[in-house]
Symmetry: C2
Subunit: 476 residues, 2 copies
């Protein structure tokens, strides 16, 4: 395909995407296919000679779209949102066109420098303490990673390196394995499953603590655990606190946890993957109070800030990010250049070496939306969740399971888990809306998340109509 | 931005990318900027009200392009190639438009299933043993990850889980830290720096072995190391062998290493990040012989197979990929669905939970190029490297440092490292071409890689002209 054909096909693809997103409501949010559906639709080998463009385009509907879950359908209310916007797509086309790899400053200076500036723009929008930002003579700063899972692992490993180095300072001959077997870290049972995964990968003990009845991990629980573990000869070194848990969007009490961590020299990492975007709104920023106690903070603009996946932003306030991300520093000659130190070499800030020019899509989104419109979307989504909550509360058969703080409503039929499971089954079979369940202290509930930016009050009313119709069938 | 404006702006961006790539040769491969160049060009905060599209586009040249290293300039010969092609960009636009997250089959069935089929298409193109492919009743298969760094870590962790489970079977009360402190794994001093990084993250000892004079790790070296380490009470469990090392594109001798690993129950992982794409050509496939001894195999279509970053493909031949990637299996209710087991849930196959619909760009590339054209590009690039080698050999001042097997030529001025460093400095200051150095057993040399698909014989001749001009200045 030459440049002239690309211009033509590019237009067709842009139009396809515009048509897809404009008419997405006519599709079922969750496709009606069985595992293995594609097998009979796709040939067994790659073609030897090129296919025609028209043949590929013709196959998109029957092969691909047939099995797509439409996350941007306004009736999709499962999981948490994943962002999508026209400005982000346009920034990403530019990133794909440039197709540079930005592992070091020299490998593509613009790739590193725009990321530095975008991390500061975003950090200031969140009113993060200035220790988390890049500044002359400072040591904090931000980096784009792929997912909150990767970020949590990065922070756990950095904390592990820090504590191992402390042990080695006192006892240079100590075995790393010996130190690791003494280490223990913490998280809440409501934390994302990737936190446990990070512990498994880091080969450290992780104690899962019980949150209070609102799903919030409290200081007193952590304090008790630390005391018990230290009595056993263990060394607490890391905690992952969550602001906006996946199950019920609960907020760990970082104002209580933070000072304990500082006193005990425990690295507090904050995972605000979903809720973090809301902190750009002054009315929600108080939920982040206590961040000044954290060593690292993460949220996903690719969830709720109009930036397409992947764009998970991590901020360090550590004194020397390079030292603390020391687990990652390996420096062969072919990556060396003369300018190290003045700009971050992002390859030291995460696990992968190669990296895309991801800050471009952030630049496009922040400029073409502007702060006010990004705030307005979040405020609107939370308002819709409140509207849904009101509908639930007006129906005596239902109860609200958790405070509605963000754009997620957790609700259930009063009664057994089984009856709620039955309700979800009916809703899923019906297929007009898509929601998923969760549970808390053995209580099963349903999650209604406002996901697509095209979701309106009408869709909220429609979702409730579907849910009550299905409930009527249950005759509860 | 609404759909109608997106159609318009999309066309403009497509044209911008087509113009950029068509005229890329007029730009200096490596930009002439100092660290921090962007600071005075970009404002300090995100705009509150939206900027105009025209303002953003107007800023691309003076702010972004000013600092871009143009990896697709035909005179860029640094590192290894990173792929780019019009079909890949078009597939990626579709992926961005759909913007689904494919962590489980249910989260977007097409995202999982197309990846399964594309991994089989690609695996068959490489003529991988069928144990590495998805098949009814089989247990192997492939997955797209972000980078070879991530893949190596995944495999090392899987091997670590496997050996820890073996220990625990015999001694259920054994501490994980105790097992880990006994573990040792291997790689060559010529392996990519990410292998060492994986060892640091996995908290296991890694012994760096010396390759032979051609940069190839040999069986006898591994055998000796295993014997020594076992005598010390250590437990060898993993080796990362490389086909096409980053420094000099050497090939570890997997036909020698493989049987040793099988005998000793050591997990052999093969990193063929760069060279792997060449195995789609029958004439280069023999370089992969011995893969039947490996537990896992990786290469990066995003390097040399026309697929834009990120697309690093990992094949497992393990009996139960889920069991062996057991380090990653964490299963909360909100991710459960009824169809597990029939199709892979890719979240168990790597570190991140979220994942893009990356197989779309692979589908576009494989269909719109066809196998023959992809082979032709590789054969052409290697031919150009051979042409460059011939030019070097004809100039008595120079020597070739390693056999030219792929599209990389390692060469140096006969004489000291210092004189070669001086030569590189002149070439870099001149700026018409971009190359980077490496070293081997303390000998410094220069690397000439054929990177851009637009590189022709004329560019090879031009590069040599620049190099000899600079050499003449040195008066050697």
């Amino acid at each position: 395909m030459d440049a002239e054909e690309f211009r033509k096909r590019g237009r067709e693809m842009i139009d396809y995407v515009a048509d897809y997103l404009s008419n997405i409501e006519s599709r079922r949010p969750m496709p009606d296919v069985e595992p293995g559906y594609m097998k009979t639709l796709i040939r067994e080998d790659a073609p030897v000679e090129p296919d025609q463009w028209e043949d590929v385009m013709k196959d998109i509907e029957p092969i691909i779209m047939k099995g797509v879950t439409h996350w941007h359908n306004p009736n999709f209310h499962a999981y948490f949102p994943t962002a999508n916007s026209y400005p982000a797509i346009l920034g990403d086309i530019l990133s794909d066109g440039i197709a540079c790899i930005g592992f070091s400053w020299a490998a593509s200076p613009a790739c590193t420098e725009l990321e530095v500036h975008m991390m500061n723009w975003l950090g200031k929008m969140l009113n993060l303490p200035k220790e988390f930002l890049f500044s002359p003579g400072g040591h904090g700063g931000g980096v784009i990673q792929s997912t909150a899972s990767e970020v949590t692992l990065t922070c756990l490993l950095s904390a592990r390196t820090k504590i191992i180095n402390q042990f080695k300072k006192n006892n240079p001959s100590i075995e790393e394995g010996e130190v690791i077997s003494k280490l223990i870290c913490y998280t809440s049972s409501e934390a994302h499953c990737s936190v446990e995964k990070a512990g498994l990968i880091g080969a450290v003990k992780m104690r899962i603590l019980e949150p209070d009845e609102k799903g919030s991990l409290r200081g007193v629980t952590l304090e008790k655990a630390i005391k018990e573990d230290k009595a056993k000869g263990l060394v607490p070194f890391f905690i992952c606190a969550t602001l906006g848990t996946t199950g019920c969007c609960a907020f760990d009490n970082i104002k209580e946890l933070g000072p304990i961590c500082e006193k005990e020299d425990i690295w507090m990492h904050i995972d605000a993957a979903y809720a973090g975007s809301s902190f750009i709104c002054p009315e929600y920023r108080p939920l982040l109070d206590g961040v000044e106690h954290a060593m690292s903070f993460n949220f996903n603009p690719h969830k709720w800030l109009q930036v397409t996946f992947d764009c998970s932003t991590l901020y360090f306030r550590v004194k020397d990010s390079r030292l603390l991300a020391g687990a990652f520093v390996v420096d062969p000659l072919y990556l060396k250049h003369d300018t190290e130190g003045e700009m971050p070499d992002y390859r030291h800030w995460h696990i992968p070496l190669g990296r895309r020019f991801r800050s471009l899509k952030l630049w496009f989104v922040l400029r073409l939306f502007g702060q006010k419109k990004l705030q307005a979307q979040i405020i609107q989504d939370i308002k819709l969740a409140k509207e849904f909550e009101k509908l639930v509360l007006e129906d005596k058969r239902f109860e609200i399971s958790f405070d509605v703080i963000m754009a997620l409503v957790c609700f259930r039929l009063k009664g057994t888990n089984e009856i709620n499971e039955k309700l979800l089954k009916l809703i899923s079979e019906d297929g007009r809306i898509h929601i998923v369940p969760s549970n808390f202290k053995e209580k099963y509930y349903l999650r209604f998340a406002v996901c697509a930016t095209s979701t309106t009050s009408e869709h909220v009313q429609f979702a409730w109509k579907v849910i009550t119709e299905m409930t009527d069938k249950l005759k509860v």
